[in-house]
């Protein structure tokens, strides 16, 4: 069964460092998303991406964040200068079309020290 793959499963970084979280969406999907879940809190929307551009972003997704689809398979989330409060699980999701359901990856746990 096709699945969304995320790497690494756990990333530890120092405050102020840049991190790149990677995702391989399901191959025929066209819409891509990043969500995050701080421990004990709700899953929150960060950004959606379609046709090589951001289609929607939340207030959380400030200038420190960027997304990219560098090739035909990968979808990345970059945090330029990590803060302690960026520590969370980051989930990538993809969907076939806008109103179709989103499939989630297993997540990357980001720990900022």
């Amino acid at each position: 069964e096709p699945e969304v793959t995320q790497t690494p499963s756990h990333q530890v970084t120092q405050m102020g460092q840049e991190v790149i979280l990677r995702c391989v969406p399901i191959s025929n999907h066209l819409y891509f998303y990043w969500y995050r879940q701080i421990l004990g809190q709700k899953v929150e929307f960060l950004v959606s991406f379609y046709n090589n551009e951001i289609s929607e972003k939340s207030e959380i997704f400030d200038d420190q964040f960027s997304v990219e689809r560098p090739d035909g398979s990968n979808f990345t989330l970059k945090i330029r200068s990590t803060k302690l409060e960026d520590s969370a699980m980051y989930f990538c999701a993809s969907s076939e079309s806008l109103e179709r359901f989103q499939y989630f990856g297993a997540g990357t746990r980001l720990s900022v020290l």
Binding site: V4, Q6, Y31, Y33, Y35, Q41, K42, V43, E44, F45, S48, Y50, S55, E56, S58, M89, F91, A93, S95, L98, E99, F101, Q102, Y103, F104, G105, A106, G107, R109
Partner: protein, 114 residues
């Protein structure tokens, strides 16, 4: 008022029990309603997806939507220990410039005891 409210539990039931999980929401623009299951430190896994008011059944799971009351439910019949997980309600729309981003409840932690 929060957009989506969900009782976080925890909820503990014996094996075989009927489980009822609920969410309320305030945004009448929500069009699609989902239930995801999330095991500890894993990604959300889609369980049920509904559009209209009414019931949708899939095996032991029934999703119910009441748009007039802004209330959705998930029922699990004959619950099994393997159903032990956190259940997240999620909803979405394309109104107000939203492109179907998901808005989640906080999740209800369910434990089914053998």
């Amino acid at each position: 008022q929060k957009e989506v409210e969900q009782d976080p539990g925890p909820l503990s039931v014996p094996e075989g029990a009927i489980v009822s999980l609920n969410c309320t929401y305030s945004n009448s623009a929500f069009q699609y309603f989902m239930w995801y299951r999330q095991y500890s430190r894993k990604g959300p896994e889609l369980l049920m997806y509904t559009y209209s008011s009414g019931n949708k059944e899939d095996g032991r799971f029934t999703a119910q939507v009441d748009k007039s009351s802004k209330y959705i439910s998930l029922f699990i019949r004959d619950s099994q220990p393997s159903d032990s997980a956190t259940y997240l309600c999620a909803m979405t729309s394309n109104s107000g410039g939203s492109n179907y981003k998901l808005t989640f409840g906080k999740g209800t932690l369910l434990t089914v005891n053998p």
